[in-house]
Symmetry: C2
């Protein structure tokens, strides 16, 4: 398996040889917020058979994009994490996310899945580095059972699954609200104003929060008739 290559001496094609198969980039997406166990992945990726999941992870290991790790105490359970090469795919996933936020995130469809972790990456895709200059703060997001945090440090953002050590601000929302943030259908700011989300903690960090994530300008795809260049 995995022998199907494009056979092109081209950086894009070579990359797609490695991560272009079905599910692979979504596995990378899952691992971008921290190590995950086999069953976590299985649970996030409904529709992917266990056999295929195992095969894909083996492929990612063989190619040096992911590796097996043991979660630190008290978990001590085996999990998968990204290698440096895997982490370096983040710009690819973010580029896909930004395109999707602009061109593809209309109403949620019936039966469509949703996990808060995806929304965290959606937020990250909207992160405005300019707006974060000089800011150093830890934000914790609590979405029903799930917890994430974002560490912002002067124009950089890191988003990780799990609680923060000493968060400056804690944002608490329901699933639907957070889902709408993921799709940038509403801003964090709006959600807080309307009471759908609540934020508590350091006043200064709270005030900066408003500007940290900029909505992409939503557009509609259409094949307008025209003649070429």
């Amino acid at each position: 398996m995995e022998q199907r290559n494009y056979n092109q001496y081209c950086a894009t094609a070579r990359t797609l040889d490695l991560v272009g198969e079905r599910w692979t980039l979504l596995l990378i997406r899952e691992l971008l917020t921290g190590p995950k166990r086999f069953s976590d992945l299985q649970h996030s990726l409904r529709g992917m058979g266990t056999g295929l999941l195992a095969a894909r992870m083996k492929h990612l290991e063989r190619e040096g994009l992911a590796r097996k790790v043991t979660l630190p105490p008290p978990a001590r359970t085996p999990a998968y994490a990204l290698t440096p090469a895997g982490v370096d795919l983040e710009p690819v996933v973010m580029a896909l996310a930004r395109w999707g936020l602009t061109w593809a995130m209309d109403e949620p469809r019936d039966q469509e899945n949703f996990h808060p972790g995806w929304a965290v990456l959606g937020l990250k895709a909207c992160f405005d580095a300019e707006a974060a200059t000089g800011l150093r703060a830890l934000y914790e997001f609590r979405v029903e059972e799930e917890v994430f945090h974002a560490r912002i440090d002067d124009g950089t953002i890191e988003t990780v699954h799990g609680p923060a050590q000493h968060p400056d601000v804690i944002i608490t929302t329901g699933r639907e609200t957070f889902r709408d943030l993921a799709a940038s259908r509403s801003t964090l700011d709006e959600a807080i104003s309307s009471g759908a989300a609540s934020a508590a903690g350091n006043r200064q960090a709270l005030r900066r929060l408003h500007d940290l994530f900029r909505l992409p300008h939503r557009r509609t795809r259409s094949a307008a008739p025209s003649s070429a260049s």
Copy 2:
């Protein structure tokens, strides 16, 4: 066909629903340097059956990412071009290319295909906007039969298939040299010094050329053992 969706309310997954299938992003790549005819695409994508090519193009049209156009005189032949939504996928293709340049472009393999158009995008992926501040110049690349040009305008670059109107500099190289540039195995500068490439034209634009493309720092993938965060 094309009914296989990830069914996730996630910007990344939604984007992959549209362009994540085999060959699709490579079709986008081909169209990023200008409109192409069916047979051009067929020729660039060895291994893709004509039926699948037709199906993919129909899909891209239906989804508003590409459209049929008529090439301007004297060609007057039908072709495919990207819509604004399609053009907007460029950051995705460039992110894939940059990753590939860093992690995946080792020696060309036996039987591996190569087209100069890919190299043009490889150059674009290395473009250093900072180095181009204040520069406004047209560079034409001639690689055996193929011609491309890059229009640089103060930190922006546009790369297009075909000759330029009044190029400031004309760079002429052989296929192999240009292929090595694509892989950033050598710099344009080195190729010119060694005589593998020649550049003629406006002295000022020529001098700036050296710094416009920055090699990504090449690295090797490996699954180093470690424990998790």
